[in-house]
Structure formats: C-alpha cells, structure tokens
C-alpha cells in the first residue's frame, strides 16, 4: 500500500492506504477526522467540502494520493481553541444549522466564497451554494449566517 503524506490542519500526517482511497476516507478513516461527512456518492451534496491549498474542494472527488504534499484544512482546523471562527460563530448566532450533517461542508464552502467575494449579495450566496445540499434549514438561515459571517470577517 502506498504511503500518502500531507499537512492537515497544520500538522504533517502520513498513512499507508489502498490506492483507491479517497481524500475523505483518508481524513475520516485514517486520521479520525470525522467532522468531514459523506452524504452522497456522486459529488453533489457538499458535506465533504474541505480546503486544499486554500481552495474549497469536495474531498470525495479526489484520491488521497492526489493530495500528496498538499495543505488541507478541515472543519476541525477552524476554531482557535474554544474560540469559534467568525463564520462558525455566525452559524451559531443565526441558527444556520439543525441536524449538523451538512454544516461542516457549508462552513468550509462559505469561507471560500468570502475569501473570493468578501461582500456577497444574498443572490451570490445562494448561487455559490449550488454544490451544498441541506435538507433541514431551507437554506434561509444558512444564507443569513453566511452574510453575517462575511460581515464579521470584513470587520
């Protein structure tokens, strides 16, 4: 089995994995980072969104081996100790989550949006979320959370 190494949430990690192992499996099953979720098998739902080299990416769409040497951030890497990241805080403040299953992907995706577009309109937020499914919230409070999180991050 090939050894795959990368940096995840600032730490260098390494694991021997089958060649067919997806990045999301590497994170969940080999590193125990279960905050990144698998909600589908066709790369539609976005529950598995992480950042790789600064860009959001569905971690079910690439093999772990393709992330060799990459810098990966997962939902577990956002908060600073007990202090939530402003985007996490915005979701909490605006009831942007219910069952919590889509939430890590939503937050990671939202962060990529605001780094590309720091002051998005409601329409731009809704269009950006094309690749993230939520069945609980009707997106109403997710959109509200992302707009509030963007505002907080603009300072």
């Amino acid at each position: 089995m090939p050894t795959v190494s990368m940096t995840v949430n600032g730490k260098t990690v390494s694991a021997d994995v089958e060649p067919r192992t997806l990045l999301v499996q590497y994170l969940r099953e080999h590193l125990g980072l279960t905050g990144t979720h698998v909600g589908c098998d066709t790369s539609q739902c976005g529950a598995c969104v992480v950042h790789m080299n600064g860009e959001s990416l569905k971690s079910c769409t690439i093999l772990a081996a393709q992330a060799e040497g990459a810098d990966v951030t997962t939902i577990e890497g956002l908060a600073n100790g007990d202090e939530l990241h402003p985007m996490q805080e915005a979701f909490r403040e605006n009831h942007g989550l219910q069952c919590g299953f889509c939430t890590p992907g939503m937050v990671m995706s939202a962060l990529d949006l605001v780094q590309k577009n720091p002051d998005p309109s409601e329409r731009e937020v809704r269009e950006w979320l094309e690749g993230n499914l939520c069945r609980c919230t009707g997106y109403h409070n997710i959109v509200k959370s992302i707009l509030a999180g963007a505002e907080a991050l603009r300072g």
Binding site: D41, I75, A79, H95, Q98, C99, G100, F101, E127, L129
Partner: protein
C-alpha cells in the same frame, strides 16, 4: 423567571459540537475489532430467486461470512412487523404479507436485500459481493396502482389484486344527500407525487454482541431507539429487552424516514453473533434512494358539493395509495388515519366520505415522510377549494372565508372522527393576507407582465394533527403501540439537572428546548440542564420523535416530572424551614415560607435531599429524581395560512418562487428561533415537492431517480427567503399549551405553490398542472394550451 425559559430564543447547545466537527454520528463510531458489511441488493424489481451461490464470495480475501435469507430462516428469524392494523370496509383485517429481512423466495423491488457480506474492510465486502451468483427468474413488474389492482401480476402471491385493504371513513348516505341538493359540484383528479426523503446523513448501523453476557448492542440512525428495540427484539430476533441495547447517537436528519425498523438493523444484529465481531454498515446514497421508505404517492378523485352561496355541503373522496412492495412500519396508518381524518380541513363541510384503497407494487415501501398524510390531505382540499373558487367566480380568499370554522365553534367536531380542540384560522388567514399584501397583488402582476413574466398568487389554509394520542384511541384505531411519552428529571445534589427523554433529536434542538422547559420550571439557567436521549440503556422506555410529537407529548412528560420534583422539594424545604408544607411557595428558583423572609435556594434543597441529615426521612425517601409518563387527552391541531407568489417565464416555463408568506398557529412557542427554523425547513420540502422533486420508476420497476443527479433536491438558489410568523391560540390539549411545528411547513406549502402557478397560467387557459411543476412540465402546459386556444 429565568431568562432562558419559555419564550426565549436561546442559542442551541448542540451547535458547538456540530460546528467544530465533533458531532457523533453513527458512521463516526468505530468499535474495537469491527468488521464491515456490504449488502447485495436486487437489480430486478420482481424476480424469483432460484439459487444463490456464495462460495466464491466466501473464499475471497478478508471475507468473514456471506449470509442469505435461507440462513435467517434456518435460525427462525421473523419478518419485519407493521405497527398499525387497518380493517377494510367489510371488516376484514388488512393483508400482511411476509417481509423477511433478507429475501427468501422472491425479490420485490430494486434494492431488496439478497445477501450480506461481512469482511475485514468495506471494500473487501463490496468486492466479494460482486462474486455472489444469484440465479433469478425475472418476473413482470408492476409499478402503477391501476395495473396492480387489475391483479395480473402479484407482488405477493397471497394478496389478490395486490390490495392491502379497502377502507372507508365518514357517512356515505349523508354525503349522497348533500350532493343531491347541491347547486354546484366541483371535481378534481390529482396525484400526490412520490418523494424520496433524503435526510443528509445516509442510514448506518453498527452491531455488536457480547458472548460473555449475551447482550447485543445496535448503534443505528433511528428517530426512535426504544421502538426499534421493541420491534426488532420482540418480533424479529426474539431478543428480550434487557439483552438488547439500541443507541441512536447524533442523527443527521430524519423527516420520517428514520422512524421505521429497517431490515439492515435486524440483519446486522443477527449477524454480529454469527461472526462474533462488531459489524458496521453505512448506506451509500444510491442505497438510500433504493431502500429508505418513500413518501406520499396518492391518486385521488374528489368532488365538492356547494350551495348557491359557495358554502360547502359535502365532500366525496376516493384515494388509491401506493404502499410499495412491503408494509413498512407505519405504512398503513399514513393514508388512512393521518390523511382522511383531516378532510374537513379548516372548513365546516358537514358531510364527508372517503374511501382509500392501498396497493402493493414493485417499488420501495412507502411510509411517513414529513407531514405523513396531512400534506396529501391539504393538497387535495386546497386545490379543490381553489378550483371551486374559479368555477363559482368567487375570490379564492372569499370562498375560504365563507366556509371557515369560526373561533367560537371550538371544540369543533368534524364528520371524520377528529374533534379540533381550539384554533382561530380566520385570524391567521387575515394576518397572512395582510403580510403578503394580497390586496396589492394585481399591481405586482401588472409590473411582472411588463417584464415579460406571468405572476400568480396562491393560497393554502390548513389544519393538521400532531401528537397522535391518547393511546387508548390510537389503539382502538389499530395502533399496535402506545403513544405516550416519558421523562426522567434527575436533580443532582448541587442542583444541576439531567433530563432523560424518550423522544429523539435529529436536528430539532431538543437539548436546548427541553432545557428551557426545566429552566422555566425550576427557575435555574438552561445551562444547568443537560438533556439526554437516544440510548436505551440510559433512558426509560419512550416512543421517539415523529409526527411533531416531541414537545407536544414529550414536553408535558418533562413538565410532569418537574412538578413531582417540586412537590417533593417543598416537603423537604418545609421540614428544614420548620413550616407547614402548605405555606411553602416556589418561584424564581427559591422556596419561601409565606409571610416570612425564610427562603431556601433550589440547590440547597437538592443538597438536603442527597445529604439527608436534617430530613423528613420517615415521610419521604432521600434523593430528587422523578419519572413521569404523559398520555395526551387529544391530538394537538396546528394550523395556519400559507401564501405563495410565483413568476413564470412563458418562454421557458421556469417557475421562480418570489415570495412565500406563512402564518402558523403552533400554540405556545418555547424557542422562537428554533420554531422559525423548523418552518423554513418544512417550507423548503413543500416547495421542493411542488416544483422540483418526484420519484420516477420505469415500467420495469427500475428507479430512474436514484441519485442526486436524477432526483432534484431543492438548492439554495431555488428558494426565496421566507416570511414566517406565528399567531397562536394556546393549545388546549396539553399543559404546555403547545401544538407542534415540525411538519407545518411541508403540509401547508405545496398547494400554495401550485395554486400560484395555476393563477399565473390562468390567462393562458391552463387549468391543471401536476407536481412537480418542473419548467419542462409548465412549458408543455403552456404549449398545449396555446395550441388548443389557436384551434378554438
């Protein structure tokens, strides 16, 4: 009063773990020595199994066992039971064909389980499953109900015409009389589209067996762990409760689809003892599409009799409901007691008669999905009433007002069994009309027309029934379970509290809302209260969460236990403060002696209960830990009004929902933030049903909508921001005065959307459209209408 009590938008305690990736969903759990399962599923909708050769799979690397239905039968494993018995018109009980967890002689839908492979890794199990050779004789499949009822192809050989039952409710003669004297009869034929629930977390399970104690543990994605323990233990595997622990940890959404006892739960639990290893199984999304119970799927013809003033005289309904290939746990109750008993809706229609035939087909079983029967009922009524408005020339708002139950008519006895306890739909309707600026709509229509868009407005008013109970009534109607709820309120020595609830939270925020109830009751901050649910080893027997019952039935159980705590604490306080118990008052977290300045804080009394040095030990026991079970007096009846505005692009048929206003009566609101969130989610599912979602089978029974590339889930850019408000009459059937909010959004919204689309298309002569009103379907309707109009 604590500022974290009833009525406060307390931020959710659940959120911290979910936002930081520390949720604990079933697939996140791993047991020492765990093996992995893959289920081989039928590729055919209907086939005879002649033989299954597992030898190659068994020999594959890493495989521990390959087991089939024959192995289960040899062990005497029972079939999956149905929890509600319906009787047909003629008094005969419904047909209950066998439902083996692993198929034995036949497969009956695509996705039916044929064998389980257990291996060291999931990939090894999956690879080995491809080596199993199943010799099938493919049979004709039947997917539509009319063909099924013709009976040429039988899903179950022992169920003639594939009819499970033929049920009726109401007074047929009274309805015939009403129609005989009617000035106008309006009729409608419609279907309620089959939906696939799609909780974002796929179903998963981990089973474990401890040989030294003979105890089984099952972690599973369920909404009701005790119900699974009871059904699986008593009916399928014959494991007594004390030897079976069922844990539902964090569950990523349910919407009904995780109520039911699924085959995989029983197969895994049974197999864990055979391989003597924990076994994990997690569904792929494709499996979820093929095996999670689907929702809705009705075909209905209905007729409404009216007098010359537009007053409703009678309603006649004939519905066919698709049950799928097997009776799911509550599949029989959904199209009967959860559907036709609501056919009065919010109206004073004096005579109602409904008949419901249920049909087996070679499709996934159908059961409760958010709303369960009430969305089907509301869709029928609100389409029919809107059609009646059009045919009588009355405004859709006006015809509703003429027929609405007035506030002074409660309690209101309907002609279809239910008695509504309280409500004021005219008030929420007026508020909704105002909030939606109904009177100003024609200007918006004209403005849209200038932009080349067809704008329409649609109304839906509804009442629904939550918290199915009392148990005795449910039992008389065929429920094979009680429908009470339980709570244990354990006050710890220093005054903090753990609440054990028999309900289960999978997004609803019970850990927050239920803590607010205790905060209110004891006058302590909500962060002094922990809510525990989901583990049958920790929590007393409870019925779980569905039918918007948790606050309406589980809430009063908590309140009852809190009151028992307070009663006992008053006796302790009276003893210590040397007063008569009748003089002890409790408010704001303090016990006081009336007319004196003596007081004890809640935490002081709890400490005395656990350190009973100065204590009335001959009168009461130490400790402060109380149980309660609560069985409601009646259903609760949320209701309200939903108004939708759409704009249709006549060139493409594209429908945009531009405004959605909901005013709902949910009784007392404990946490307004959570209540609004529940309504938002329900509305999205309702709009999804109306314009996007629809399960499609081909004639061979192949599921064509088996992935997110084929089944349209509502996305953020399909939906508007919603305007939601509550306007409540306090509930009359439980001491918390709550009614339930989980399903109202999904119940009220679909007809509002379709009525709006038909209003937009009316100038083009389009009179009917079915759900989902996709842009393709709307475009076709526009084309057909223009061709027809040109011909005329």
């Amino acid at each position: 009063m604590s500022d974290t009590g009833i009525g406060a938008s307390v931020k959710r305690v659940e959120d911290l773990r979910f936002l930081t990736g520390n949720g604990n969903y079933t697939d996140d759990i791993n047991r020492p020595g765990q093996s992995h399962a893959w289920l081989l599923r039928s590729p055919h909708a209907h086939a005879k199994i002649n033989a299954i050769d597992t030898s190659k799979a068994e020999a594959a690397e890493g495989v521990l066992a390959v087991l089939t239905g024959a192995d289960m039968a040899a062990d005497g494993v029972g079939g999956l039971p149905c929890g509600w018995q319906i009787h047909s018109k003629d008094g005969e009980p419904m047909a209950e064909p066998a439902h083996p967890p692993l198929a034995v002689d036949k497969v009956r839908h695509v996705g039916d389980q044929v064998a389980i492979v257990i291996a060291e890794t999931r990939d090894a199990a999956r690879d080995a499953a491809e080596l199993i050779e199943v010799d099938y004789t493919v049979l004709d499949a039947v997917t539509d109900m009319d063909t099924a009822l013709a009976g040429k192809t039988l899903v179950h050989d022992d169920v003639p015409n594939n009819r499970c039952f033929d049920w009726e409710i109401g007074d047929k003669d009274a309805v015939d009389e009403a129609f005989a004297k009617a000035d106008k009869v309006v009729s409608i034929d419609l279907s309620n589209n089959r939906l696939i629930p799609n909780a974002m977390e796929p179903r998963a399970a981990i089973s474990d067996f401890d040989r030294t104690t003979g105890r089984y543990t099952l972690y599973t994605t369920t909404q009701n762990p005790h119900v699974i323990r009871l059904l699986m233990g008593a009916f399928v595997l014959q494991i007594p409760e004390h030897k079976l622990r069922v844990v539902a940890p964090d569950v990523g959404g349910g919407f009904g689809s995780k109520i039911f006892h699924y085959a995989e739960e029983a197969i895994l639990t049974w197999a864990a003892a055979k391989v003597n290893r924990p076994i994990k199984w997690t569904a792929e999304r494709t499996e979820s599409f093929m095996t999670d119970a689907h929702g809705r799927d009705h075909e209905t013809h209905a007729e409404l009799a009216l007098d010359g003033d537009g007053k409703f005289l009678g309603l006649r309904v004939a519905t066919k409901a698709n049950l799928g290939a097997y009776l799911s746990t509550f599949g029989s109750s959904v199209p009967t007691y959860l559907y036709a008993t609501l056919l009065a809706g919010v109206y004073t229609t004096p005579a109602i008669y409904a008949e419901v035939q249920t049909v087996f087909t070679n499709t996934v079983p159908v059961d409760a999905y958010r709303g369960a029967g009430r969305p089907e009922c509301t869709y029928l009524l609100e389409r029919l009433v809107t059609k009646a408005a059009r045919e009588t020339g009355l405004d859709p708002a006006e015809i509703r007002k003429r027929n609405m139950i007035q506030p002074d008519q409660y309690p209101y006895q309907t002609p279809v069994a239910l008695q509504y306890d309280c409500g004021d739909v005219p008030a929420s309707f007026e508020s909704a009309l105002k909030a939606a600026d109904y009177d100003g709509f024609e200007k918006r229509r004209a403005d849209a027309e200038k932009n080349g868009k067809l704008r329409g407005i649609g109304i839906s008013t509804y009442v629904e029934a939550c918290g199915i109970a009392p148990s005795a009534v449910a039992g008389a109607l065929g429920a094979r379970a009680g429908l009470y709820e339980s709570a244990q309120v354990r006050v710890h020595p220093t005054g903090s509290v753990t609440v054990y609830t028999g309900t289960h939270s999978h997004g609803q925020g019970h850990e927050t809302t239920f803590a607010q109830l205790v905060s209110e009751s004891f006058g302590i901050p909500a962060d002094q209260v922990e809510v525990s649910h989901g583990d049958t080893d920790q929590v007393q027997f409870g019925m779980g969460t569905y039918g918007s019952r948790s606050l309406a039935v589980g809430g009063p159980a908590i309140l009852k236990a809190c009151n028992k705590v307070i009663d006992k604490a008053k006796k302790i306080a009276a003893h210590i403060m040397e007063a008569d118990v009748s003089d002890i008052e409790f408010a704001d977290g303090k016990f006081t002696v009336a007319g004196t300045d003596k007081e004890m804080a809640f935490g002081e009394v709890s400490l005395a209960a656990y350190v009973p040095h100065n204590y009335p030990i001959e009168e009461i026991e130490p400790g402060l830990d109380e149980n309660a079970f609560y069985d409601p007096l009646n259903f609760s009846f949320p209701g309200g009004a939903h108004i939708c505005e759409v704009e249709v692009d006549p060139d493409t048929g594209d429908v945009e929902v531009v405004n959605f206003t909901a005013v709902d009566d949910v009784g007392r609101v404990v946490n307004p933030m959570i209540v609004e969130g529940q309504v938002h989610g329900g509305l999205a599912q309702g709009v999804g049903q109306a314009v996007l979602e629809g399960c499609v089978y081909d004639d061979d029974g192949q599921l064509l909508t088996g992935s997110y590339m084929d089944y349209t889930m509502p996305r953020a850019d399909d939906l508007p921001s919603f305007s939601v408000a509550t306007q409540s009459v306090m509930g009359a059937s439980n001491p918390l005065e709550v009614k339930g909010v989980g399903e109202v959004g999904a119940i009220g919204s679909p007809p509002a959307v379709i009525n709006a689309i038909l209003d937009a298309l009316a100038p083009l002569g389009v009179e009917d459209i079915s759900m989902p009103a996709t842009s393709h379907k709307v475009w076709q309707a526009i084309q057909a209408s223009s061709v027809r109009q040109a011909a005329e």
